[in-house]
């Protein structure tokens, strides 16, 4: 048995190090270390609850609006406030813009550059992948960065700026839109659609959204594997058999995403044992057995505590270990689409289990599914009608905000007494996925997904298979610990 520590693990958001125990060329055990703690749950204590809207987006520079949205929802549920239709539509648009930009950044900047590494030089697709996806110098990042920046002008209109807006309010949006701005937003979305259809997919969004099985996906890919970037990935993934890499527990949760009139664009739920179940939020506990945190028992988030203990023996991460009814679950775009019931992901996971391929396909699919929804929400906005309700003083309340960030289920649990925050607990998506072992010794989702991977013990740096699996979760480490 030999042990290696992989860090700093780059092209993820924030700090990450992974310890691998390997034997006979395989990973026997993995330990995921989130090495940085800032203590937002402590910083928020004693604050006026509305001030949370300034602090929480700054937990994370990449999921900033998601954090704002969870806080705004926690405040709104606590106060029994329902935003006017324009406010709800603006909130959907802002969150969707962040989520889609994150999917795009992950694919082009964080994930694909690994296929342009020297280890793959002998593969038939290497030359194409290298010129297209090489970190910093590849042609794809040059194509994508200005498109992403231009798409983020959506935030200039809806949120003032990104990251770290204050426009996302419990009563709706502080930014009303005029007709001229609505029209400019329409043009920005159309530009983004054109990039997705021409450069990323090589096909209409509707055609991508309609892919309903692995067989259909492979047939579709074969016609365009050198003409567009997502088919390029599929071709590489098939060659490297990435559908066989990175299975965790195959239990998936989603809090449900994008409120519509009486429903959500993507439903909430738990997918396990090949069946959809209702999600029981009251079954969530956060375990701290392997975390540098004081505490003896796993607590429900509305009773949770965050008490750092940096010298704790046997702990190895600042991340807590959330469990649903004691079980390790996975969250993210794949989980969201498994719960929502998209036939392509249900088929992929039914055949192979969760994998590097399935996680990336789910993200790309969401680009095709959510942009048309954004176009529809924008169309429904009525300039001149209200965007925001005023908020009165808050004396006592308990609120819960459950939303879907790009990386999955994000929850805020808020307790206010005498006008001050007395408890604020946050469980971020990567807290679920990258959790350490719990009191029963059960490893977290990524820790399980890494076990069994082939690694060359003489290889100096991080094995590429390990890098693919880790990055397939699109981890956000700054949210993880917060």
């Amino acid at each position: 048995m030999s042990r290696r520590i992989i860090g700093p693990f780059n092209r993820v958001e924030g700090d990450l190090a992974i310890t691998l125990d390997t034997e006979d060329g395989r990973v026997r055990a993995a330990f995921v270390n989130s090495p940085m703690y800032r203590g937002f749950e402590q910083i928020l204590l004693g604050k006026n609850p509305l001030d949370a809207l300034v602090y929480v987006p700054r937990i994370c520079g990449i999921c900033s609006v998601a954090q704002s949205a969870a806080a705004a929802q926690a405040l709104a549920t606590g106060m029994g406030l329902q935003a006017p239709q324009n406010g709800r539509l603006a909130a959907n648009l802002t969150l969707a813009a962040e989520n889609l930009a994150d999917h795009l950044s992950h694919f082009y900047l964080f994930f694909m550059p690994d296929f342009a590494r020297e280890g793959y030089r002998k593969r038939s697709w290497f030359g194409d992948a290298e010129s297209r996806f090489k970190a910093v110098s590849g042609s794809a990042s040059a194509d994508m960065l200005p498109v992403r920046a231009r798409f983020m002008n959506v935030m200039g209109y809806l949120a003032g700026k990104w990251p770290h807006t204050l426009s996302v309010q419990p009563g709706g949006s502080s930014r009303s839109l005029e007709m001229a701005e609505k029209l400019r937003l329409k043009i920005l979305l159309a530009e983004f659609r054109r990039f997705l259809e021409s450069t990323l997919f090589g096909d209409k969004l509707a055609a991508v959204a309609a892919l309903d099985s692995e067989a259909a996906l492979m047939t579709w890919m074969a016609q365009r594997s050198h003409r567009a970037d997502f088919p390029r990935f599929l071709n590489i993934a098939r060659d490297l058999e990435l559908q066989q890499l990175g299975r965790a527990t195959d239990r998936f949760i989603s809090y449900g995403a994008y409120t519509e009139e009486n429903t959500a664009l993507f439903a909430a739920g738990l997918w396990s044992e090949n069946t959809l179940h209702a999600l029981d939020i009251s079954a969530i506990r956060e375990d701290v057995a392997s975390s540098w945190m004081a505490g003896d028992s796993a607590l429900a988030p509305d009773e949770g505590r965050t008490l750092p203990q940096p010298d704790k023996v046997d702990a190895y991460s600042w991340c807590k270990a959330p469990r649903l009814a004691g079980q390790v679950v996975e969250t993210g775009a794949l989980a969201r689409q498994m719960v929502a019931g998209h036939p392509l992901l249900r088929d992929l996971v039914g055949r192979h289990g969760a994998s590097v391929t399935a996680r990336v396909v789910a993200r790309m699919l969401e680009l095709a599914l959510v942009l048309p929804a954004m176009e529809s929400w924008l169309h429904q906005i009525q300039p001149g009608a209200p965007f925001c309700l005023p908020v009165g003083d808050i004396d006592e309340m308990r609120g819960v905000g459950l939303i879907e960030a790009a990386r999955g289920s994000l929850g805020h649990w808020l307790d206010v007494r005498q006008g001050k925050i007395v408890n604020y607990q946050i469980i971020a998506p990567t807290t679920w996925n990258f959790s350490p072992r719990d009191a029963a010794g059960i490893p977290g989702a990524l820790e399980q997904a890494l076990v069994g991977l082939k690694v060359d013990e003489n290889e100096n740096s991080a094995p590429l298979a390990v890098q693919h699996v880790v990055r397939s979760f699109d981890p956000c480490m700054v949210c993880t610990v917060h």
Binding site: P8, N10, G14, R38, Q42, G156, G160, H164
Partner: protein, 337 residues
Amino acid sequence: MKDNFQYLPLNLLWLQSGGCGGCTLSLLNADCRNLLQTLKDAGINLLWHPSLSEQCADEARKIIEACAGGELQLDILCVEGAVLKGNNGAFHRTQSREPMMNLIERLTKVARHTVAVGSCAAFGGMTAGGCNPTEACGLQYDGEVPGGLLGEDYRASNGLPVINIAGCPTHPNWVIETLAAIATGEMQEESLDVLRRPRLYADHLVHHGCTRNEFYEFKASAHKPSDLGCLMENMGCKGTQVHADCNIRLWNGEGSCVRGGYACIACTEPGFEEPGHLFNQTPKIAGIPIGLPTDMPKAWFVALASLSKSATPKRVRENAVSDHQVITPVSKRTRLK
């Protein structure tokens, strides 16, 4: 320096410490043809950046240690995020268990220029909020007090103190232009203001270019989020005092905080994370905001405010408390004088 104003590119190493990564993400919003090429055009050779570079783990460590050891010339060290000093650095360690603050300190000893990207790295920022559980501070400031991790007397090997690109987050162009100024030798002591922020953006006030100016002139004020009126009197806006050019060079195309319908919370200033009052509420004494424009006599401000309030047109007064124009400016059919 070579002929034709061509400069040798400078080696840049970017590290993330106790922050959110938002200044990097904001940089990706840069309105340019290709950010990575723009950095080259600005005279920067990116040695390693945690979000953008290929090198992972051992490969990255080699670059960082080569800089620390002097084998690789470190022209510019950019640090994003606060320094977490608490518990002897235990809140943030590298994979070799070295406290991040020690690694930063080793690198600042060899760096020709040291740049704090964002208010966390400059002053401690958001990470130093509340009870400051990690004892977060800036590279050379702890809030507005000089010192921080490196001490008041620190100078990078080119002679300059830490350059504070304060902001939460930083505007992409504040970063690009600061790096370009360093690369062309135009970043001097006098290029920095009293808090060592580059004057290229800190010589302006957020108030400059504010689209709510007509409401400000008449003290026609917003009362709730989404109202069109001036945000200074009730909603906590500090734009008339805060140094930054947010309403001159806009964010994400046509945005800024005040254009987004919410207050300037002074994110380029030290200590903004603990204002001592609600962020969205203006502190007042006897009904008068205590944070008035810094270089205007208070009595004059109060006198003018009361005068202009009484002269406020109905249009401005009613629009100020609505989320859209309920009364539009009168159109005259004659030629305007």
